[in-house]
Symmetry: C2
Subunit: 407 residues, 2 copies
């Protein structure tokens, strides 16, 4: 037996996520299992649904968890809403817009895209013009795209979607809990998330909420599987292309029918429940303010070190700062040294930004003063060893000033 | 905040799964996270792959975890192997054969089935005859179908599949670790499992192994997603219909390329790793013998209570006993009373067997003498309260005799 007990090294995860989990979440996940239809289990599922209604700021009955990573939630939403041949519009402003295109295409959609340079966002008028031209069935948008550290304003898009009878889907994996988001007030039809960013849990469970309009579309496409199908249940020939991600069936499992589908991932359920409890105990507004406070301090700190932030600061996410890697500095070598010598992880970036931008997160458990200051002190020390001339103490001092100004 | 800390009631889960998890697995799952590309993370992924090669008894390099429940593993295997229009043969002998049909159909396969009555299995000649007639691209078979408590013999099917150039897929969710299974020796091309049965973990991670032949098929269908695609990488028009379950991309994430796909569900990875460690520390043969010992004792015990077992005992799974619900007894009322008064869960059944058969599991952590005897004593007490005349102590005595005979 070569492999010993799991014993991870101490890490402070200050990248774009996953980040260090709340210890309370990991403790909750060590609770023992109960049976799939135990009254405690079904009550815990219902309780978790209620908690996530508050997290998503929605009255949607259809609020639940998809058993998989945040990407599983995206695919469940899209494959359940999109019938092959449906037109889908994706405004792309970063890597995860590409992911929405990718998934929608595999669902058989006719995908149309509009683009802005990475680091910018769309004006509502740009999206409306594209909707008018494309007449899509679904508008699929990322809220905060960690690849560029900016967040797309969404508050005006719901009314536009209603006007053109478009279903409005949003991926909030990277933003939920740390940035303002309102499912009902903003007119969203489907929203998905993950635990590993501002919610402070491990990847592996994808909270999702669906409007009545979205549920109606999904119900019209539902087919109950053979083996548990009742005598009167219809068999459809144009079934949703996935069984695992068939939200119609998943709703029947989470709903009062309790029709067997998958076996709920109980430990992830416990974790997702604790993530929501922590967020709601603090209060969503307080959590967003905390993310903004520590995100602002981190931004001030990197600027205090003489580094240039990346992206449109007017639309920046609260929970991740993009930093232009200085000329002559090897970004990945700095990251490796930070990890090896200080146990601190910051992020690289994808595609056109790889090697040009670092991403430093301040989210969930790590949206904390000590985490911000330790990271800035260590970054200064490493950059100096890499030959960069920096204002001594410039990062920590600027961050402390930022905290002072906010107090 | 209405929801308090998670605090599950004490339960002894003696159903067909999920079952009580090994405490060691839950402890491992409370370990803190590291970053997605931390050297510790990639080493832990590689270590877990090596552990599951031993669990699956295979040399397959392509052995990894799908992030989702066991059903996610099934869908990943089928959607990655099956191109729309491919013929798939499913020999059905229980509910989970229906599930394979359901998933394969949604992958766009032309599905052909053969059937035996629930409780029986197929002779290899029956399957060969169907292969000769259908000429499928894929043979998809369940190993142990907990819905009927019998296991399909597989050892002769690999050679048949090779002779007819058929890919051989098997779902071992309910059997792996407690029943003999040999990926390479039996000529399997794709095998999937889950943690929540004999492996003694929570649902939410699906170990999978793929032969070189299966990997070649998947590689021929692979398309790297936009956003991380390199300049020379091909863009396919006949892409695998799922992004999340595209095993080509998942292999690139787990393999030396480490191409970003989903964010690995670290806590489930820790859990899956510990499940494998426990199994391999005990030894696979010893674990199978233990499952047989306690399964035999449970079978003797229910027979000692005068109850009739269900299904073909010559092919019964070691880890779950089917029990015919006696005439005049309300099966679900007995189960509810066992749970409420004794904290013990046994299973009901699906479809044609619902209300006719209980399913009592002895697997993973609960393949233990005390778990068997406590369950039999409680079952006797509850059945007597429901008016059944039973031999006093007949269950526990017969089980103890069974242990004595095995010693």
């Amino acid at each position: 037996m070569p492999a010993g007990p799991i014993d991870p090294p101490a890490r402070l995860l200050m990248g774009p996520g996953p980040i260090t989990a709340y210890p309370r979440v990991l403790q909750a996940m060590s609770a023992q299992l109960v049976g799939q239809y135990d009254p405690f289990m079904t009550a815990t599922m219902a309780e978790t649904q209620a908690l996530y209604r508050d997290v998503f700021v929605t009255g949607n009955e259809a609020t639940l968890l998809v058993d998989g990573t945040s990407r599983a939630g995206i695919e469940a939403a899209l494959v359940s809403l999109i019938a092959p041949g449906d037109r889908v519009l994706v405004p792309r402003f970063g890597r995860f817009g590409h992911l929405l295109v990718e998934i929608a295409e595999r669902c058989g959609a006719e995908v149309h895209t509009i683009d802005v340079p990475w680091g910018q966002v769309f004006a509502p008028e740009q999206i409306e013009a594209a909707i008018r031209q494309v007449r899509p069935r679904v508008l699929a948008v990322v809220h905060g795209d960690t690849s560029t550290t900016v967040a797309q304003p969404l508050d005006e898009l719901g009314a536009i979607c209603r006007a053109y009878d478009v279903l409005f889907y949003c991926d909030t994996t990277a933003s939920l809990g740390g940035n303002e988001f309102r499912t009902d007030a903003w007119g969203l039809d489907a929203v998905t998330a993950g635990l590993q960013k501002c919610l402070g849990g491990p990847s592996g469970s994808a909270p999702i909420t669906l409007s009545e309009r979205a549920v109606a579309v999904i119900e019209s496409r539902k087919s109950i599987e053979a083996g548990i199908r009742g005598v009167g249940d219809p068999v459809r020939t144009d079934r949703i292309r996935s069984n695992y991600f068939d939200l119609g069936q998943i709703l029947d499992y989470w709903g009062p029918k309790r029709l067997n589908h998958h076996t709920e991932a109980t430990t992830m359920l416990y974790g997702a429940r604790e993530c929501a409890r922590i967020l709601l105990e603090e209060g969503i507004d307080a959590s967003i303010a905390r993310h903004r406070l520590h995100g602002d301090a981190m931004l001030a700190g990197v600027q205090g070190l003489g580094l240039a932030p990346f992206g449109d600061l007017a639309h920046r996410m609260t929970n991740v700062v993009g930093v232009a890697i200085p000329e002559g500095i090897e970004g990945d070598a700095v990251r490796a040294e930070l990890l090896a010598d200080y146990g601190i992880e910051i992020g690289t970036s994808f595609g056109p930004l790889h090697g040009k931008v670092w991403r430093i997160g301040t989210m969930g458990y790590n949206a904390r003063r000590d985490a911000v200051l330790v990271t800035l002190a260590a970054l200064e020390a490493v950059l100096r060893r890499h030959g960069l001339r920096l204002p001594t103490g410039g990062g920590t001092e600027a961050a402390i000033d930022s905290y002072g100004a906010a107090a």
